[in-house]
Symmetry: C2
């Protein structure tokens, strides 16, 4: 059933402004914006106030970490401030969420560089437009011996990795990529053929297990 398209909050000043502002959130259409505004004002004004303040505070205080480029409200983020980590390895990820995914493994002790995006030729984002120069500068100091490219295994992530590999090698730094393969718990029957093919190609020699 189609719904009426007249804006019910039209001409209602601050309410109309709120609906307009909500519509600018990605994935929020006119109807969702109205529903959100109605919900907040009718049932949860405290949430509306908290969100309003959180937005203004975040916009004011959250910038990028001077070293890893991730979000931070301090000049250096907690990870970059931790001097006990291994400065010879640098893991390059697309977003702070990807950084968190690596941290969650509790197996990586190096530092990070967050591209804050990915090359996406279809969307007009060329690899050159990534926050790449900041990474190049960082590699210049010679401390980093290996860059682990942990961009996603999507077309965009792969294109980004290819672009960065060339440039990083030119700076004389070793480059590696996360291994592709059958996920832990994965059954071959249900794993897509490209992944299985890659796992076959990247097969690892096993040492003899002495009994």
């Amino acid at each position: 059933m189609t719904r009426n398209t007249l804006d019910p909050f039209d001409g209602l000043g601050p309410l109309a402004d709120l609906v307009q502002a909500l519509k600018r959130l990605p994935g929020v259409g006119p109807k969702s914006a109205q529903r959100l505004a109605f919900h907040l004002l009718q049932h949860d004004r405290q949430a509306a106030t908290d969100l309003g303040q959180a937005l203004l505070t975040a916009v004011r205080d959250v910038q990028h970490c001077a070293r890893c480029n991730s979000f931070s409200h301090t000049a250096l983020c907690p990870i970059c401030s931790d001097t006990r980590r291994n400065a010879s390895v640098l893991c390059v990820v697309e977003t702070p969420a990807d950084l968190a995914a690596i941290e969650a493994t509790h197996t990586y002790q190096g530092y990070y560089y967050v591209l804050m995006g990915r090359a996406s030729p279809l969307d007009g984002v060329r690899p050159e437009s990534l926050d790449w120069p900041k990474l190049a500068t960082r590699l210049d100091d010679g401390e980093v011996r290996e860059v682990i490219l942990a961009t996603n295994f999507t077309n965009e992530g792969e294109a980004t990795a290819v672009f960065l590999t060339d440039r990083i090698r030119k700076q004389g730094v070793k480059v590696s990529r996360l291994a592709r393969g059958v996920p832990i718990g994965g059954e071959l029957e249900y794993t897509d053929p490209t992944t299985v093919a890659r796992a076959l190609l990247d097969r690892r020699p096993l040492g003899a297990d002495p009994e």
Copy 2:
């Protein structure tokens, strides 16, 4: 593929606060909240600022119209302020969006009363808890001769209409309900049987067309 559940913004102060605040929006889970925060801070800080200010302004300024109970930032909303409307008819709707749907027909000249909700026994909202007393007071002045119940034709809307019908009749005011039937452009073959049955029951006599 399942994604990592570690909060990437954990311990990041204002950013973590923003993600928490976004999670309180209905329909926004932890992953959406992260994606929204990332999008706003990385790509659209102006939208974040505008939304933050719109939320705080709306919470401060938007209250309920003293007469119709709809949202308004003035004591009386534009419709209730319009003295040219027909004061003998009052249309009762669930939400401001429903009011807008009636206004969009450009065929109704009376005033409104907005319940700002519906009876929903399953969610623990009893009919008695609606903004009903304010409506009763309004009917007391004797100006309204007919109340048109325009709550939705859902279980909740019907239950609300039944509840209100009894009470309004006791005040000596005529009650009517929006007609149910086959929608304009609707084909019987594709209309649900309950609607067709209702249309049959509520059939209207047609005058003879003189040729």
